[in-house]
Every structure is written in C-alpha cells, then in structure tokens.
C-alpha cells in the first residue's frame, strides 16, 4: 500500500477516534491520535494476518499486542477498518453490553484482541511468550508490541527486557510511543526516563529510532528489524510521536491524554480531518 493510501486511512482512523471518544465523553484521544500512523502501517502494510477468520492462537500469522491499552480507540478503529468486525460497531465504544470495552479485553470475544491490557507494563511479557511459542512451533512469523513511554516506568517492562535478551527472542519488534507525555504532565517532570536508548541497549536490545508520523521511516525500521532475524537480539523502536497528532488543539500536550472533546471541539477536529472512507 502506498503512502497516499496509508495517509488516507490514517485520516479516517483519526476521525473515528475523535468521534468515538466524543460520543461517550470518555476515553483517551491523545495517545490514540499519536499512534494512528504506526497501527495503520502495521495492519494495512506490514503484518501477515487473517482478519476474516480470527484465530486466538494466531497460528501462522503475525500478531500484535497493545500494552498501553488505554489507547483502545485507535486499535478498535484500525481493527474494524481492516475487517476484523463491522465498522458500525465502533459506535458502541465504552457503552453497556459492548465488545469494545474501555480497555481491550477478550471476554466479550472481540476479534483481534488476544489478551486484556490497560493495567500498564504487562504487554511486553505477554508478547515475548507468544513470540517464543512461534519459534517453538517453527513459524517465521513476527510479534509486534506497542508501549507508552510513560509505561516504561513500570518495573515489569524491565524484567521482560532482561528476559528477551537472555532468551534471544529475535522475532519480536517492540515500539515505544515516545510522546514525552503522561497523565500528570511531561515524562521529564513526572519521572524522567533518562537515556532511554542507553537503557534498552544495556538490557541487550537493538535500538532503532524513527518518526512515528512518517510511513517511509516506519517502513525503514521495520525492514531493518526484519533483516536481523536470526541474530538472537530483540529489537525496540523508539518512535517519536506527537500526542494528539492531526488535531491542532490536541497536539503536544498531556491535557488530551484522557478527556473528550466538546461538540464544538469535535466539529473543529473533524474540519481538520477529511473523511476519506465513510464515517461509521
């Protein structure tokens, strides 16, 4: 898929995100908008997947884990647009009896979700277990995971990082959403992450960096990581993003981490995001 098509998809996904969050006046638009381009890249260009016949075990296909589960709006929109479930179902987000829970869950049987997430720091461990089983099963498939930068303050992430290098898990590609923001403010003010690249390198990972809003750059790091299969070294991408990307008044601030736009703000946002597919 070329970058024009990917950009068009991303624009529609961003429309979905702000409409979903506005409709229930709850949810997390900032991080969702910031990770839109990555998820569109993975699901529409990179991953070998079977949306029509969702298999919890993911036999023979690539799998993705969202560790920072609060950005569920972007994942739900991408899954729906990719054909995992009807796009109309996006209107049920966070409502009673919905399969689209506030944070991703398996209990309601939403296709595309393989583990619950939301309580931070757990997804890398899960992704590593799945990656090891793919190797045990003799698959040449990949496991992708996404984590917030603030999430790296959780200790379990570093337990998992140490484990991955020790066990030479090289069929995992983990992305860190480096937007520099968390609920209470900037990561620098709340709990400085310091030299992130140095930390991951010290834990035995190959560290790549990219612009999370440039499809060509995303494709570059994915290709580079794929080329390192067999090295016995796990790969992490420190992906620079802007929280709230695509909606000017939401960009670059933690204030839109977890609040919903008003009616006027929704109209303003939608004016900035052209509808490229039909709205749900």
């Amino acid at each position: 898929m070329n970058s024009t098509e990917l950009t068009a998809l991303a624009t529609q996904v961003r429309r979905d995100i702000v409409r979903m969050v506005h409709a229930v006046q709850s949810g997390h638009p900032g991080g969702s908008l910031g990770c839109t381009d990555l998820l569109v890249q993975l699901y529409f260009d990179t991953m070998n997947i079977s949306p029509d016949a969702f298999d919890m075990d993911g036999h023979g296909e690539d799998v993705f884990f969202l560790s920072n589960g609060h950005i569920s709006p972007v994942w739900y929109s991408v899954l729906a647009r990719r054909g995992y479930f009807p796009v109309e179902e996006l209107s049920t987000f966070r409502k009673l009896n919905s399969r689209l829970q506030g944070h991703p869950a398996t209990e309601e049987g939403l296709p595309g979700i393989r583990v619950a997430s939301g309580s931070l720091g757990q997804g890398l461990s899960v992704a590593l277990g799945a990656a090891q089983v793919k190797s045990l099963n003799g698959e040449d498939t990949w496991v992708y995971s996404l984590h917030g930068d603030g999430e790296l303050q959780e200790g379990q992430i570093w337990e998992a990082a140490m484990y991955a290098a020790h066990h030479k898990v090289d069929n995992i590609l983990s992305f860190i959403d480096c937007n520099g923001q968390q609920i209470d403010g900037s990561t620098e003010d709340v709990m400085s992450l310091g030299d992130l690249a140095g930390k991951w390198k010290a834990f035995g990972w190959r560290v790549l960096t990219c612009d999370g809003h440039d499809f060509a750059d995303l494709q570059r790091v994915i290709k580079e990581a794929h080329g390192q299969r067999g090295s016995g070294i796990p790969t992490v991408v420190l992906m620079k993003t802007d929280m709230g990307k695509g909606v000017d008044f939401m960009e670059g601030t933690h204030k839109w981490h977890g609040i919903a736009p008003s009616d006027d703000q929704l109209a303003d946002a939608l004016n900035q995001l052209e509808s490229t597919l039909e709205d749900y």
């Binding site: 036999h59 309580s119 461990s125 899960v126 277990g129 337990e159 484990y163």
Partner: protein
C-alpha cells in the same frame, strides 16, 4: 473404628507434596507436547528438575522476576501451549496479583499457576514467605480454579488433571514431608469432594495438609464414640456444594480445617454455601488473622492450632461435649 474410603490409616512413607507436583509435571509433559514449564529461580525447590532434564526445550528459566513469568506464561497460551509456572505460593499470588488478574484470569488464559511452600509449614523462613491469604486471593478471581491436594499421590494426580482442564488454575502444595495416605488408585476428579471417612455425628471438611490431621482427629474422636465424616475438599473452587450440603444435612455440624487465614479461605466458602442452603452449626480450624513466624513445621502447626489435637478439641466443643 472409622469407615475409610481410598485411604490407609497406617501410611508407611512420607513424601512432600511438591515432589508429587514434580512427578506429575514430568508425566504431563510425557503425555502432551504442549505442556511447558516456567520457573523463577526455584527449580530444585519446586521439584521441576525432572521436567527440565527431560524437556529442556520446553523449560524456561525466568529468573527472579515473577511478574514477567506470569505475563510470559499468558503469552505462551497464544499458540496452544499449556504453561505451568513454578515458584513459592507467596510469589505466585500476592506478588503478582494484578498480572494474574489481567493477563491470565480476565483474559481466560490456560495457565497453571503451581505454588509450593504454602502456609506455615514452609517453616524456618518465617512469615515473609508463609503466605496464608493465597486461597482467598485466587478463589475471588473469576475464571480461576483453585486446587489444594492433600498428599504426594493426590498432588501428582491433580497436576495431571489440571493439564487436561482448559482454563486458569491455581494449584497449591507444600514443602514438608507428610504421610502418603491416599491410595494410588483412588479416583481424582476436579471439582468433586473426596469423602475419605464416613460418619454421622459431624463433618470435618479439610484441604491440603489438614486432611491427614482431620483423619487422625477422626480416629481419636471415634474412641469417644463420636463418628466424624471427613471430606477432602481438594477443589476449593468450584466448590462441590452438593456433597457438602448432603453431609451437613446428615451430621448437622461442620468443622472446616485449613492451613490458611480464617478470613477468606475454604472455611468462608463452606460457610457461605451452607448459610445459603442449609444453615449449620460451624467452627473453623485456621490461622486467626495473624502472621506466622519461624519454627519447625510441626511446632508451628501446634502453636497456631492447626493439628489433630485442635481439631478434636473444636469438634467436641461444636458438639457440646
């Protein structure tokens, strides 16, 4: 005389229940290629060495990182594997409760959480390691099955049974050598109470190490003409309510014995069941809202009132004798 079923009152050997787990895991691995073992730096203590040696490619050393172990195990179910995690009960539950809750129980992952050194009988290491709240924590989680077998052979059988059961399971066992009293050919069925002694005067419902204490108590009570029915409630969740209620209807008095806090363990499950279905006079042999301490297992069980003598005393009091 007591009317026994599938047990011996004169066991000839003692073995630790953790060794029953180790043997069961080895056999489960032989029966099913999908069985995996994970351990957090306690391979010898958990008796997982036989599995590790037989299936090195299916054994994963996790190091001292239990939270990661639970997450990795959850991930390993995706792809059809059946991971068994091994560490002490304290580090299998309280330390990793949120990981179990979100990544395993809520996500309905087929992980077997296998926990050794539970309760006071861990002994000299003291209260930091003697978890007495784990049954309560685990039974409260939706989707979780909770199993507390009574001796070596039953722990072996339980390990094989949970490998065949699809869904998250908490399997609790212990460190000390205790009598092997259950017949090797005794049937083991998840979710079914095993009646080991029949009686009409009172019911003693016990789990884990307290089952043997309850049997010894029943023998003592019989000398005074009190005929206790002893139920081995090896599956605490789901609770076999039918067998429990039938026994309570017959005896009218129920004493629950467990190596756990009185609040939240088997006793509270039994009380909740009987309170709703057949209100019955009850009492409890359990730890009374306190932490343990260092000591030899038998000394601790005596001091904290978790032995046969205590069961005899409370049984008589319950019967007004």
């Amino acid at each position: 005389m007591v009317d026994t079923h599938h047990i011996t009152l004169s066991p000839t050997e003692s073995k630790d229940t953790r060794s029953g787990f180790g043997q069961g895991l080895l056999e489960a691995g032989q029966q099913n290629d999908n069985v995996l073992g994970l351990c957090a730096d306690l391979t010898g203590s958990l008796k997982m060495n036989a599995f590790k040696d037989a299936f090195p490619e299916r054994f994963f050393q996790v190091g001292i990182a239990e939270a990661n172990m639970m997450g990795v195990a959850a991930g390993m179910t995706i792809g059809g594997k059946i991971p068994f995690t091994g560490t002490f009960a304290n580090f299998s539950t309280g330390r990793v409760y949120d990981q179990i809750r979100q990544s395993i129980a809520y996500s309905e992952k087929n992980v077997k959480i296998c926990a050794s050194h539970a309760g006071l009988t861990l002994g000299e290491d003291g209260a930091t390691h003697q978890i007495l709240e784990d049954i309560g924590m685990m039974k409260m989680l939706p989707n979780m099955t909770v199993v507390v077998p009574a001796d070596y052979e039953q722990t072996r059988q339980a390990t094989l049974a949970i490998a065949k059961h699809h869904g998250p399971v908490y399997l609790r066992f212990g460190r000390p050598k205790v009598p092997v009293f259950i017949d090797a050919e005794a049937p083991f069925e998840l979710g079914k109470i095993q009646k080991v002694i029949s009686g009409a005067d009172l019911t003693i419902a016990a789990c884990g190490h307290l089952v043997w204490e309850a049997i010894q108590a029943a023998v003592e009570l019989a000398k005074d003409g009190i005929h206790a029915e002893v139920l081995n409630v090896h599956t605490i969740k789901p609770l076999d309510e039918k067998t429990l209620i039938e026994s309570a209807q017959k005896t009218g008095h129920v004493l629950v014995a467990e190596e756990h806090q009185r609040l939240g363990g088997l006793g509270s499950s039994v009380a909740q069941c009987l309170g709703a279905n057949h209100p019955t006079a009850m009492d409890f042999v359990a730890v009374e809202d306190q932490f343990g301490e260092s000591g030899k297992p038998a000394q601790l069980m005596q001091k904290y009132g978790l032995d046969a003598a205590s069961i005899v005393r409370k049984s008589k009091a319950l019967l007004g004798k």
